[in-house]
């Protein structure tokens, strides 16, 4: 699956996008984030404050318990500060 990162989360992780294979048994956004945290301290730092994580799946905002599959496109970012 393709994952896109924005703003502070992008800076922590060090890339604006990456492609990963969703491990068997992981089928929610929160499961994906827990999986990503195992990839390194940069991910841990990015996702340290779970209340500051927002997610979109296929360009629609979703909650952390949203179901996902390997075909989905994920975007992870902090709370928005536009306007």
């Amino acid at each position: 699956m393709n994952i896109f990162y924005f703003a502070l989360i992008r800076e922590h992780i060090g890339t604006s996008s990456e492609e990963i294979d969703l491990p068997t048994g992981i089928d929610t956004v929160s499961g994906l984030i827990s999986h990503l945290e195992t990839k390194g301290d940069n991910y841990k730092a990015a996702f340290e404050h779970s209340d500051l994580i927002r997610v979109a799946v296929n360009n629609e905002y979703v909650g952390l318990d949203h179901k996902i599959s390997n075909a989905d496109e994920i975007a992870i970012f902090p709370p928005m500060t536009g306007g």
């Binding site: 896109f4 924005f6 703003a7 502070l8 992008r10 500051l52 979109a56 360009n59 905002y61 975007a75 970012f77 902090p78 709370p79 928005m80 500060t81 536009g82 306007g83």
Partner: protein
């Protein structure tokens, strides 16, 4: 409804003219322009960089606009949001609403601004003398949005 996500500046007079066209049935035009301020949170701002999510930005602005159109009898609506490098005094965002009546125009413009703050996929990074930092989302912005429910 005109929605634009753009790096370049906007021209409020041209945008109003575009909404008015040659119509004579518009009684009220409300506009809101948001600008980069030179001071924020007590710090002097040198520059503001607005990051956005291109695949979602216009779509989300259109959604917010659609919600406003459902709630109020609008004749016309324009939402423009800039991204990229901006400096104090620069325009960030423009909302224009036209309606038969002033209350609808005012309320819809304020509603759109409140929702933009929390639902449009943009992130502000400020550059100050002490360094760079991402602007934190404000709890009060959520509260402002929630008052429309």
């Amino acid at each position: 409804m005109r929605i634009s996500v753009q790096a370049e500046d906007f021209d409020i007079a041209a945008e109003i003219k575009n909404l008015r066209a040659n119509r004579t049935d518009i009684g009220a035009i409300a506009t809101f322009t948001g600008l980069v301020r030179d001071i924020h949170g007590g710090k002097t701002i040198k520059k503001m960089t607005l990051e956005h999510f291109p695949a979602m930005a216009e779509k989300e602005l259109a959604k917010i606009g659609d919600q406003a159109k459902k709630r109020w009898p609008l004749e016309g609506l324009t939402i423009i949001h800039r991204y990229g490098a901006l400096y104090p005094g620069d325009n960030i965002v423009l909302v224009i609403t036209t309606s038969h009546h002033r209350e609808a125009a005012f309320d819809a413009a304020e509603f759109i601004m409140d929702w933009l703050k929390t639902d449009a996929p943009f992130w502000k990074k400020e550059q100050t003398a002490e360094g760079n930092h991402w602007v934190s989302a404000k709890a009060e912005d959520d509260a402002k949005k929630d008052r429309w429910n």
